[in-house]
């Protein structure tokens, strides 16, 4: 199981993550949700050891009690792909444009000491496992000859080729067309199910999280502001930001009156380091009071945790 304890990351003097703590058990699927500037990507980078050079990180990130934070690059190279793997939003720049797809996909197989002779057939198997059609043809293609959806399948296959324990997916479907998004989402869910890999899905797409993840952690301003069971949180959010975020997403066929304006959150996400003291959301929150100048305590309701002085009313 992956455990993150009190993870703090700063770049220079600017705090990016302010004491993040969460866990992800074997086979569990955790969704980390937030907008830009929430720190969700930094959290992922901290786990795989890809924080920028200028970043300082303290706290604990451990996989099965094996500490990941503070490892040397050499050590992390052996861990990536094998214990922890990651796929990114931009499928095209994730792949080497000058190397054929088949050859690229065989690279992670070295992690499992698969002989060159077997490599090709293993790659074809991998392609089939991600429902990539015409694998023989794809093997000989270059990344730019594949569509976005196909490339994400390739990335997914490559990231699982090393049989990692944890897969981190950072906005994997954001750049894809609607129908492709649906197919890749279904694929991701089935593949992760089948291989019993733990999944950390980082995204701002709430319906996607609802589809794939059992647990959700909502981030804002470098804090986890609410965490718990996905269905519970999406139905009854307690933190004001979570509630506002959910409200600002229009849902098909649940139209309010035609003339109504869409609900939005006033202002915009501050730049890193410009968040107000105390509750990071207080300068955009309709319910903020002077009390919010001190950081809210975390309230736990079973597995549902949130940190808000004036949470949304719990259902009766």
């Amino acid at each position: 199981m992956l455990r993150i304890s009190n993870l703090r990351v700063s770049i220079g003097d600017t705090p990016i993550l302010n004491g993040i703590s969460t866990t992800c058990n074997k086979g569990q699927r955790l969704g980390i949700v937030g907008e830009s500037g929430s720190g969700k990507t930094m959290t992922a980078l901290a786990v795989v050891g890809l924080l920028p050079e200028s970043a300082t990180a303290t706290g604990d990130v451990s996989l099965n009690d094996f500490e990941l934070l503070g490892r040397t690059e050499e050590e992390m190279t052996r861990i990536r792909g094998r214990k922890v793997s990651m796929i990114f939003q931009d499928s095209l720049t994730s792949l080497d444009p000058l190397m054929k797809v088949g050859r690229q996909m065989s690279l992670p197989l070295k992690l499992r000491n698969i002989a060159k002779a077997e490599a090709k057939s293993t790659v074809i198997e991998l392609m089939e496992s991600v429902q990539l059609d015409r694998p023989g043809e794809r093997y000989q293609s270059y990344p730019h000859q594949l569509s976005g959806g196909q490339r994400q399948r390739v990335n997914l296959a490559m990231s699982l080729a090393g049989e990692p324990e944890v897969l981190i997916a950072d906005e994997p479907t954001t750049a894809l067309d609607v129908t492709v998004k649906a197919r890749v989402a279904k694929l991701l869910q089935s593949v992760v199910d089948r291989t019993e890999t733990s999944l950390i899905l980082i995204t701002h797409d709430l319906p996607l999280v609802a589809f794939i993840c059992e647990r959700i952690a909502v981030m804002y301003g470098g804090y986890i502001v609410e965490e718990g069971d996905t269905t519970e949180i999406l139905r009854n959010p307690r933190h004001r930001y979570t509630a506002a975020l959910i409200a600002s997403m229009p849902v098909l066929r649940t139209r309010r009156n035609k003339g109504d304006r869409l609900p939005s959150i006033p202002g915009s996400v501050p730049a890193a380091g410009d968040f107000p003291s105390g509750c990071p959301f207080r300068n955009r929150c309709a319910a903020a009071t002077a009390q919010c100048e001190t950081m809210p305590e975390t309230v736990s309701n079973g597995s549902h945790r949130f940190a808000c002085w004036h949470p949304v009313e719990a259902p009766a």
Partner: protein, 300 residues
């Protein structure tokens, strides 16, 4: 569940969101380079108005004193010695600085004008005209500089203008390529398409939108060209092309020192070291600026 349903809030964000551009301090190597280039430019400009010798600036150049010839450095009145005609080396170097700098500046300017024009046109008007222009550029690129200079000297004589033209012709291909590739990137940005939505022509877009946005990249290239230009000027001076007596240049000083290297090595060492330092300074500036540009590009 209460949702925060606000109408389009007029949040005065401009007021409380100050322009946050992190001012990165200049790296030491860049500072050193800038100081070096600055010093050379200062000396160059100064030497057109004042030289450390008797008489006016022009007189100093003609001040031949056979009696004083080939004095070594640290001689009284001649810190770096004198040359075979008794001329003070410091005076010669200073004057040479202004001449060499002038030559490479003019040469780079020519290369800049021609190269930027070709690069921008190639980027804006894709297709056949672009191919034609870039292949022409390739051909010029393939011609060795020395050969080019000799041909030019034969046709145009051995004056300073020949060197300037040779530099311009030698370097415009690099500028053209750099301009074109940078322009192609800028071209894809939305504000270029926006300009088309209100009727701006390709020429206007190239001149007023693309050029300002690629200028910094081109200037980096220009500083590096100037560094090489110093060496090219020296090579051409060896062929007798460039400044004519009595106007010195670093290259000419080097050439003239050849006959006397056995007896008076300082005649070659002084301009030689100056050339090395100048090339180094320009390189530091060019590389330093390029690093800054790269970093800024990554931050945004």
């Amino acid at each position: 569940m209460t949702a925060t349903a606000e109408p389009t809030a007029v949040v005065p964000e401009d007021a409380d969101a100050p322009a946050r551009r992190r001012r990165t301090p200049l790296k030491l190597s860049l500072k050193v380079g800038l100081a070096g280039v600055g010093l050379f430019v200062f000396v160059g400009i100064l030497s057109r108005f004042w030289l450390p010798s008797e008489g006016g600036v022009d007189a100093a150049l003609y001040l031949i004193n056979i009696g004083d010839r080939l004095k070594p450095p640290f001689s009284p009145g001649h810190p770096l010695g004198t040359d075979h005609l008794g001329r003070d080396i410091v005076v010669q170097l200073m004057r040479a600085t202004s001449n060499t700098l002038l030559i490479i500046s003019l040469g780079s300017f020519v290369a800049f004008c021609v190269g930027v024009t070709i690069g921008l046109l190639a980027a804006m008007f894709r297709g056949l005209p672009e191919q034609g222009m870039m292949r022409f550029v390739d051909i010029i690129f393939a011609v060795p500089a020395v050969l080019l200079a000799l041909v030019l000297a034969a046709k145009l004589g051995a004056s300073v203008s020949t060197t300037v033209i040779a530099l311009g012709v030698w370097f415009f291909p690099v500028i053209a390529r750099v301009t074109r590739s940078a322009a192609l990137t800028v071209r894809e940005r939305a504000f270029i398409s926006a300009a088309r939505t209100y009727g701006r022509s390709n020429i206007f877009i190239a001149w007023r939108h693309i050029l300002p946005n690629v200028m910094s990249i081109i200037l980096v290239q220009v500083t590096l060209i100037m560094a090489i230009g110093i060496l090219v000027e020296a090579s051409l001076a060896f062929l007798g092309v460039g400044t004519q007596p009595p106007e010195p240049s670093w290259g000419r000083m080097l050439k003239e020192s050849q006959d006397w290297l056995g007896e008076a090595p300082w005649l070659g060492i002084a301009p030689g070291i100056t050339i090395v330092l100048a090339v180094l300074a320009f390189n530091l500036v060019g590389n330093g600026l390029r690093d800054r540009l790269d970093r800024r590009g990554r931050d945004t």
